[in-house]
């Protein structure tokens, strides 16, 4: 533990170890998650899912379920003819009409007096299906003559009979494509002394939030909708739900109870949410719908499988020349944010290192598999995995060590990349050097490599990987901003009303810190209000590692306005020039000497209770100075960029294939450390999540069916597996960041798998091209029994 902050002495809060404000509540079990909320008169809902993979729905008989005592409503698509499709491509009806495309598909839903009755009612619903041929992989989906998942247009008929086409047919199963190019790859290849090409396979995983998905929907007597929701984007969803229901967005209020984990899984609307709303509307009662853990595995979004072909080259001196990437994304049965991960992947391909010539192409393809959402890192884990494998291969080919090779190609401050990203602050080279030094990388890399052929079945290895990620928001929507309202009451208690959502990442604490830093108040003087769209100002949502940066700048803006107001009042009262006044330790002080003039509370009281009565209440909206990408995907999308290098040290048991992570040495350009305790937690958590992706987690999907929907067989990392973690912070003091900070929410999870792959190679001389590195997969590869991924994709 670092030294405690003595706010009474007016010390800075920045960079200190500040416990999260919500920690006591969570640690003592007092936090009221959505599960704990029960409204008077509330009904419980359950969803009947298809269970079959791909079929026409022939008939649905709900009569027995409706007759069960305690059941209030049983609905199918026929009961909500006005339902509209949801999702990124509007290709997904909450309740399925004539066809199911995935076993998770929603057929019917029940609202009943208890969850048990609802469950029993589901068992009474009889559905008959006519099976259709199943498309089990993205490659199969592209084969000529493959069954079409969305071959017909999806139309919607308004109550007045007007017909709208909401989703055009996809005649080739391709849901989305991305093409990006810079320079001339043919020229780049011609200039290369070494060229490597490989195919990589990135597997299925899912978020495994400890708090399962859930929602409570309620209409008031005036038909306004109140939604208790775990969403990460309350304001965007308010609008979407309004569209879905055909009502004015102003009539929807979203309240977010404390969220038991997001990691990107709650960026989209999923069928269970509209279904709960339909049931609430039909029954005119509050309806609560909470997933079981099994349902969470079956019906929440995934990080999708990606088949990726990468061709890269460099010159003899180690300078990168070109990169060509072709990927096939298994979109699953419907389109959610997963299809758009190429936005981030191409940034890593084009701009993590300096590469003059690049070509990038993705096709996201419909299959009957679980559909893909967004997940911490947003495609960057996959892109980094491939790019960093090639950095090691190219380095080896030209006889350079991995660190030197990377330093030769690393970005520097001031660079504007061909994709248009402007790296105003950039600590990449310090990250590389620091991680290499603290892990003793060069020495170990040589030593371990020399032991490939000795008799010890336990091999050690080190591997490194680096990453680039947005760290100052991401301009995807018309605005990437956030609003703040700050109210200081007559006891100098501060209510910080922010649009930014807390999903466990510690934003409340950091925002409070930033505001207190401006106003010289202790953290105990702050209440954060951040979970009710009827109260909080607009924010685009918690995603893209943006909250500290964007909401932080917004909070600072509001705090500075409040400070100006307080100081102006103090100057008038004390008859002193405002320049001589500052705020510290709860008082108005003299700037140089620190002499106390008056307590802030007392000053505010005198403002309130006077003939010119005034409240200290300010607002601020911050919009980061970033740009939208143009049609060629070029533009400076973020106001700042985060960098990191991680070195993994592993031990490979060649008799079992078990890869033990011994140590992760991370060096992260975080701009500046605001809450040391918080950022350490964020980075450790991200590393463990990356470790799970690399070594243990695997959503096994066979013929469209999830085979391991439980923690028994979907293996999260357990405590004894967590490696020693050594973190260094590179503080580049970003000019636009709040107190110099950048966003780091996603960064720590991104490098681990890539670094571990390189470490396994350093330990054994065997390179793995497919994740995850489960013992059997590693053992197979060591025995030469693995089938390396191949690119067999129809063009």
């Amino acid at each position: 533990m670092g030294a405690a902050v003595d706010i009474a002495r007016g010390e800075t809060l920045i960079g200190k170890r500040v416990p999260k404000m919500d920690a006591p509540e969570k640690a003592s079990g007092r936090t009221r998650y959505i599960h704990d909320i029960n409204l008077p008169g509330q009904l419980h809902a359950k969803i009947l899912r298809a269970g079959v993979v791909h079929a026409r729905i022939v008939s649905i008989d709900t009569s027995a379920a409706k007759a069960l005592p305690g059941v209030h409503a049983v609905i199918t698509a026929a009961d909500v003819p006005w339902q509209r499709p949801i999702g990124v491509a509007k290709d997904h009806l909450p309740l399925k009409t004539d066809r199911v495309r995935s076993p998770r598909d929603e057929i019917a839903a029940v609202a009943a007096d208890s969850a048990e009755i609802a469950e029993a009612a589901l068992r009474l619903i009889k559905v008959t299906y006519d099976p259709l041929p199943v498309v089990t992989s993205a490659e199969d989906a592209l084969r000529p003559g493959a069954p079409l998942l969305h071959g017909e247009e999806l139309t919607w008929t308004a109550p007045d009979g007007r017909r709208e086409v909401l989703h055009a047919p996809s005649p080739d199963n391709v849901a989305m494509t991305f093409n990006y190019a810079q320079g001339d790859v043919a020229r780049g290849e011609a200039e290369s002394d070494t060229v490597v090409e490989d195919v990589f396979w990135l597997h299925y995983v899912t978020h495994c939030c400890m708090g399962v998905s859930g929602v409570i929907a309620e209409f008031d007597a005036d038909d306004n909708l109140r939604l208790y929701s775990n969403t990460q984007v309350p304001f965007l969803h308010k609008r979407e739900f309004a569209e879905l229901l055909g009502i004015d967005p102003g009539r929807i209020r979203v309240i977010q109870p404390p969220i038991g984990g997001g990691f990107g899984s709650k960026l989209d609307i999923y069928p269970f949410e509209p279904i709960a709303i339909f049931l609430a509307k039909i029954t005119q009662r509050p309806v609560k719908l909470i997933f079981t853990r099994e349902e969470e595995f079956l019906a929440s979004p995934t990080r999708q499988p990606v088949l990726l072909k990468l061709r890269s080259g460099c010159k003899r001196d180690g300078t990168l020349t070109f990169r060509t990437v072709d990927t096939l994304h298994d979109n699953g049965a419907y389109t959610s944010w997963g299809a758009t991960t190429p936005f981030v992947m191409m940034q890593t391909i084009s701009s993590l290192y300096r590469v003059p010539h690049c070509q990038y192409r993705t096709r996201a393809v419909y299959t009957n598999n679980p559909y893909a959402g967004s997940f911490r890192g947003y495609g960057n884990l996959q892109a980094t995995f491939a790019v960093e494998a090639h950095m090691d291969k190219l380095a080896e080919a030209v006889g350079m060590d991995p660190v030197t090779f990377r330093l030769r190609n690393a970005q520097e401050p001031g660079e504007i990349t061909p994709q248009g990203m402007h790296f105003k602050s950039c600590g990449f080279k310090q990250c590389l050097e620091t991680a290499a030094l603290r892990s003793d990388f060069r020495r170990k890399h040589n030593e371990y490599r020399a032991k490939w052929h000795d008799s010890n079945p336990l091999k050690r290895g080190v591997g490194m990987a680096s990453m680039l990620h947005v760290g100052g928001g991401a301009k995807i929507y018309p605005s990437d901003g956030c609003g703040t309202i700050l109210k200081i009451d007559d006891f100098a208690h501060l209510t910080l009303i922010t649009g930014a959502s807390e999903i466990g990442q510690g934003s409340e604490t950091v925002l409070a810190q930033l505001v207190c830093e401006e106003l010289g108040l202790p953290l105990s003087a702050v209440t954060v209000v951040n979970n009710d769209t009827d109260i909080t100002p607009w924010d685009v949502g918690v995603h893209a590692s943006r909250t500290t940066f964007v909401a932080g700048n917004s909070a600072i803006g509001a705090a500075r306005k409040a400070k100006a107001k307080i100081l102006a009042a103090a100057a008038a009262k004390l008859e002193l020039p405002v320049e001589r006044l500052g705020l510290r330790a709860g008082c108005v002080v003299e700037t140089g000497s620190g002499n106390r003039f008056i307590e802030i509370g007392k000053l505010i009281r005198s403002l309130h209770f006077s003939d010119k009565a005034e409240l200290v209440m300010t607002t601020h909206y911050y919009e980061p100075p970033s740009q939208h990408q143009d049609r060629e995907f070029k533009g400076d999308v973020s106001a700042a960029y985060a960098w990191a290098t991680q070195v993994a040290e592993v031990e490979v048991d060649t008799m079992t294939g078990i890869v033990r992570l011994l140590r992760i040495t991370g060096a992260h350009d975080v701009g500046r450390v605001l809450n040391r305790l918080g950022i350490e937690g964020q980075i450790e958590g991200g590393i463990v999540m990356g470790q799970g992706y690399a070594t243990t987690e695997n959503l096994i999907v066979e013929n469209g069916v999830v085979r391991n929907p439980s923690f028994r067989d979907y293996k999260l990392v357990t405590a004894p597996e967590i490696p020693a973690i050594d973190i260094s912070f590179i503080e580049t003091m970003d000019g636009e960041g709040p107190q110099g900070a950048k966003g780091v929410g996603e960064a720590p999870a991104i490098c681990v798998a890539a670094a571990v792959a390189n470490a396994i190679y350093n330990a054994t001389g065997v390179r793995l091209y497919a994740l995850p590195f489960t013992p059997e997969n590693v053992y197979r590869a060591l025995k030469g029994q693995a089938q390396p991924p191949v690119w067999r994709v129809a063009s």
């Binding site: 048990e116 469950e119 029993a120 008799m655 079992t656 078990i658 243990t696 096994i700 085979r707 391991n708 028994r712 067989d713 293996k715 357990t718 405590a719 004894p720 597996e721 489960t774 013992p775 059997e776 053992y779 197979r780 025995k783 029994q785």
Partner: protein
């Protein structure tokens, strides 16, 4: 909404056996298998649920006349805390040490582990190499009677045992191993905690110098039930452990197992792991 209409919690073995005789009873011990299985539909609960947890006679570990008796209700934690088990029945202790998590170990009983008859049940492999007998109590003809069955004959297949519907498993009896007796259990899972055995290896023998006598070898999770491996035993019997003997025994073991492929591992990998881990266990014994 289960099919349970009646819950009973007898206080004596006699009473429990009487209730069982009436039929249509599901027995509940720690519930760590029964509860998940009844919830996911793998087990149908019968109308009467009988908790045996109040039956004091089913508890405790005792030693008398060269025999150890372990009550069926003894929890995995109790076995792990027992000095007798740790010092004299090492293989069983090792199985309990690598078993699940604290929470599960505190609830799970050895009787439940045996009656659940999972091919991967962790106490079964040590009990096989320790030549344990299970004791079954019933009142099928009015008076309480017990019979003893060797564990190898008791386990029939996944979830199947030689227990009659009217019988309670009351305890486990085994001869206290002689001096210079070694036993060892190795659980191979893909992670160090909270894992189901992918395969497991049990070994017990009397050690004389470098040679092993009265060798017993068993494997878990490689056949419909945990199995003894007589050919591997024969390959080791009376021999000094050296690389050659170990290789022959490992090859013999491979011919005795019938692993399957499932979501946890392929049959190929299970075979490889039996060979490699059996080799490792034997090398460890040799070098000790």
């Amino acid at each position: 909404m289960s099919g349970i209409s009646n819950y009973v919690a007898p206080r004596s073995l006699d009473e429990a056996a009487e209730l069982l005789r009436a039929g249509n009873v599901t027995l509940l011990a720690g519930g760590t298998d029964l509860m998940p299985q009844s919830r996911n539909g793998r087990t149908q609960l019968r109308p009467t649920l009988m908790s045996i947890r109040r039956v004091a006679e089913l508890r405790g570990i005792s030693e008398a006349a060269g025999n150890v008796r372990i009550g069926a209700l003894t929890t995995i934690s109790e076995l792990r805390d027992s000095v007798l088990v740790r010092e004299r029945l090492q293989a069983l202790w090792q199985a309990c040490d690598r078993f699940a998590s604290d929470q599960i170990r505190n609830a799970a009983t050895i009787g439940g582990n045996i009656c659940n008859a999972s091919p991967a049940g962790d106490t079964l492999v040590p009990l096989l190499v320790l030549d344990a007998q299970v004791e079954l109590a019933s009142k099928s003809n009015g008076t309480l009677a017990t019979r003893a069955v060797p564990i190898a004959d008791f386990l029939l297949g996944p979830g199947q045992t030689a227990r009659a519907a009217t019988e309670i498993l009351s305890g486990i009896v085994l001869a206290l191993p002689p001096r210079h007796f070694i036993s060892s259990f190795f659980k191979f899972g893909t992670r160090p905690a909270l894992d189901i055995s992918l395969i497991s290896v049990g070994l017990a023998a009397r050690r004389a110098g470098n040679a092993l006598h009265d060798v017993r070898v068993a494997f878990g999770a490689v056949a419909p039930r945990p199995i003894r491996a007589p050919a591997a035993e024969a390959a080791l019997e009376g021999k000094a452990l050296d690389d050659g003997v170990i290789a022959v025994a490992a090859a013999a073991a491979e011919a005795e197992i019938h692993p399957i492929s499932d979501v946890r591992a392929s049959d190929w990998y299970r075979r490889e792991m039996v060979r490699n881990m059996f080799t490792r266990v034997l090398a460890h014994v040799r070098d000790r």
